[in-house]
Symmetry: D2
Subunit: 351 residues, 4 copies
């Protein structure tokens, strides 16, 4: 049934495994090639990967022979990239240049002028930026990225009010799950019954990525949004699900918190017209119960693709405050890439 043969770059890593897990029954995309480092190349995936997903490794994937991450080693229609940033720059470019679209979770091209930084529901029109890319003279290969795992739920939660009222300032404390650090990742001695008050590199990304995403595509360029975002990113002993405590100053504060709630609740899902297999019916759900959402109970809502908001209330310092929850390795990483790919297919970029 699946129409596309798909490769996964960085297939043995935590993000690569999540791609494989999420695509195991995908109606359009079938994983047929796995790229990893020299060390893994030539082995079956079963031998090469230290599988950390709870569901079992799919049997057909297990028997695939891992190759290096080279375009001539992977005969596919497009690739998902879960590559480490240390190697992603050259590899992703080589695929794009060879005519293979790259849908990447790596950070390397997020700020590249011609590369869309996308969350499908937030800036679906940014796909047009692809047309300005010149990686591939034949016009088939390109690169599309998604943002960091905190930025995704952040921009999704902000989007309805950004459209309705404008956003002037954003402050947040992001309480981040251990799965965000990959495997082996955070040592248990560091995090059991503890909080680590600093996550290297995270706050800078949170400060800049939303501005490109919220930016306007004009004359083939993204005019970045302009508002300061100040983040404190901490690690908490939670398996999956980043919980953000956010405060926002609005450009035009309606002054009535109920009006803000209505805007969130009535936000028109821009993907509703497409029928994308991984798209959540309700991308952003506002919980009324102040006890929700919670990482352990609500991260997997709509298969981990829904962002939960809660505690939406007026703030006496900025204008409003709320919490936002996103499953960091699904909605905040591999799932976001997959949904981007589905949109790209629906729009004819992947064919």
């Amino acid at each position: 049934m699946a129409e596309f043969r798909v490769g996964v770059l960085g297939a043995t890593g935590a993000v690569g495994q999540k791609f494989i897990h999420l695509l195991r029954n995908h109606p359009w995309f079938k994983v047929t090639a796995l790229g990893a480092s020299e060390r893994s190349a030539g082995k079956t995936y079963r031998e090469a990967a230290n599988w950390v997903e709870s569901t079992e490794m799919p049997d057909d994937i297990a028997e695939l022979i891992v190759s290096t991450c080279e375009p001539d080693q992977m005969d596919v229609d497009f690739v998902f990239s879960g590559l480490d940033s240390g190697v992603a720059t050259d590899i992703e470019r080589s695929f794009a240049e060879s005519g293979v679209p790259v849908i990447s979770n790596a950070r390397n091209y997020r700020q590249h002028e011609t590369v869309p930084l996308m969350v499908a529901e937030v800036n679906p029109d940014h796909t047009e930026l692809i047309k300005t890319q010149n990686f591939d003279p034949n016009g088939r290969g390109f690169i599309v990225t998604n943002p960091n795992c905190v930025c995704i739920p952040l921009v999704m939660a902000l989007k309805p009010m950004y459209d309705a009222f404008g956003v002037e300032e954003v402050m947040l404390t992001s309480m981040q799950a251990i799965s965000g650090a990959g495997y082996p990742g955070v040592p248990s001695l560091d995090i059991l019954g503890n909080i680590l008050p600093y996550i290297s590199g995270e706050e800078d990304k949170i400060g800049i990525e939303p501005l490109k995403l919220m930016g306007k595509l004009e004359n083939g360029k993204i005019n970045f949004a302009e508002f300061p975002v100040q983040a404190t990113a901490v690690r908490v002993p939670v398996i999956d699900g980043h919980l953000l405590s956010v405060a926002v100053r609005l450009t035009n504060n309606p002054g009535d918190i109920e009006e803000v709630k209505e805007v969130v609740r009535n936000w028109k899902n821009p993907l509703a017209e497409f029928d994308l297999p991984s798209a959540p019916a309700t991308p952003v759900r506002l919980y009324d119960d102040f006890r929700y959402p919670q990482p352990r109970h609500h991260s997997l809502a709509e298969n981990g693709m829904q962002v939960g908001m809660g505690r939406l209330r007026a703030s006496n310092v900025l204008d409003i405050a709320f919490t936002a929850l996103g499953h960091n390795t699904i909605r905040g990483a591999a799932g976001c890439s997959i949904l981007n790919a589905e949109l790209l297919h629906a729009k004819g970029f992947i064919k």
Copy 2:
């Protein structure tokens, strides 16, 4: 050696136990009477209390007979109160009226016009407010309170910069340990590998208590400080130690973060002149290492009485951001009361 016979009100509860634990070798204060509910009265403390401290119940305390919380049942020089707010109003008043000073961790009198709300290092001069009290016509009984477990590290961290630069606005997310909810407190099914995004009643206290504490005593009244404090209080799977992620707008921002750091580091401890047994040598410690302070490793610094600050940096939304850590049941509760009592003794209020 101990000069004072001390009673503990609410002796079987978690706060009461912490008082007993912290006072077990105190040079001035000796616990000689234990007050609890009718249900416990008449039993030995060993029978009456479900001891939850890790150190063993002191043998001499274990054999004390618990009484009801009535002044004529407890022949002591003063009392510490760890009472539930449901019963504290009448009981604390009855002791004060009977001439017994009450040093209370309960919230009931925190906003009473003549009752000091104190953190010994922050507003030691507020002891003078006691002189306006008229609970006891003989002038011996009085009530002194300390704030909520989040407010204590918050005001301690704010105090140096408040004095130097003024504070205009405060925002915080407080990540609070489970011991703050007492025993049995938070069900493990709720919090293991999870975050609870709401703690009932907490944010209101955080919004108001700092303003009284930071207020000026003028003409026998507290003129409250005036700045908005917006808090998001969440529960995290940590045993002890509330970690606060704070942002502050200063009245006079020096514009140089190093200057702010110097102010914190050079803050003159107002208790240095006294020689109080429970006073930390350095009430507020600023860590330079961005990985610190952490709840599990640094809450017990200076026997749990020191507040740790970290990650002090400029904010592009408000002026500065930082983290603050306080041991919630020591510095943030019983230990704060004990230090208040020591100061009150040093100043001649308890004699």
Copy 3:
């Protein structure tokens, strides 16, 4: 599509909620009546229940009006009981006497002479014991129970070797998840980063229930199996999944551990002939990888109905040692009851 109208007794409790959760899409059984205490009766289930499942409360269930646990208040074909043992004796009997079959997770009738104590795959023939019951003169009402949450994975893991080699002695340490204590259950202050070395009442049940289950039905009576079972039951900071470390002395030790492994792997599922909706395809799975099974990763195998075994090896004290894992609230409680009910329907007892 569902053929049977089903009631849940103790519907607001943790076990009752699990019944509702597991039955939400059941092809045969539809929950149409909810029984709880006087306090809940008359309210909608949404009002009455403090829902602790991660999936949302089914909408149709939410609007049901809770009744008391009385046969004339619940017009159903049969009931599942998640009642507390403090009230189960009378209530369960009253339903049986009124002609309503009771499939119970409560312990009250487990040792009743005419009541089957069943794990559907282990002693399916014990259903015949129902015919000796005389609760209901009309012969329609009866009671069937399932064992304690540790006994279920224990007897399932033992069954293949019990049949092949006989069992002489069993020792185990059961490391039990917090969900086994219900809600609110274990205080987080007790269990976070800790082990509680004793669970009241648990070890006695483990010592006796397997003997009835493994017993032979002869002349309308169960001849109990006879082997000592010594258990140490401890609580660990795990959400779901009891992990058992077991050692067994066999009656006829084959002396070759591979032979034991073969017996486990080739065990013939006695339910294979029936086509029961909740029956796992492989009731007992033996993992070869010594790192498996683990509570967090493998408890939900086959929707939580499979028991995992691992580390099967020779013991130099008893004969063999292994680990066994069962999801304590699904396989070990509500799921076991549901599977028992399915078997009872297949055999014509529920009609």
Copy 4:
């Protein structure tokens, strides 16, 4: 005041840090030299070590220059070894050959014929085995080891009943804290809310080390004790403290569990005659309360040097069952080495 200049081998590792931590105020032993790998040599300890203890790195230690682990680089009276087993064989031998006593926590020489494997309270007479060593022709250098972190509490708990009744068979499940795996050690993704049912290499050591320890020194040789020990070693989400669930068959079962309890309670501490600074007053404490001991609350009893026993009861499979708890990095590792060294000094081996 300290009489001895002490070196620590493997000073930057987790065990090395624990030695430094425990010796920071030792009355006899002063750490004056730190040995580590080439990579660390030449740096100050502050630069070289990733300090993981909660207490701060002692200032005097922080300024020491780390050397390689060579006798001529470390001018000390004796050394403690926290070396990895991968390098310990040659390094420890070189120190012993050079006349420097080695008190080692490494496993390499535990089974060496002339090297004592010691827990000071259990087999203090085994020090005599040193006299059979010929590492150092001058007779000053020697090697003494202590067993694995599970064996230490196990043999301490067994010792009283071993002496009184004899031991025939031992079975145990050891639930082991994450600190036992060093740093970074166990990934948090593996252990948060989970149990790992296998710890590589652990069970073999538990099977053999107790037999040497319990052995008799006769004619300059250890005649090993002979009883099978079958262990299942699992990792649990606990910071410090291994909890053992043990069952024992006695040679001469008194048949009265109270008699066994008395033997444990009245066990004569063989170190009582010495006045060793790190020796616990009560090496083995039997708790009557079935809820105790627990890892988080009781591991640090007597500064982490006491072993707690609980739940002592008759077993219907073997003879008796109990739990035992030991702080794995203090009593079970560095603290055991230090106590061994103190005994060796008291007996004149270190001078």
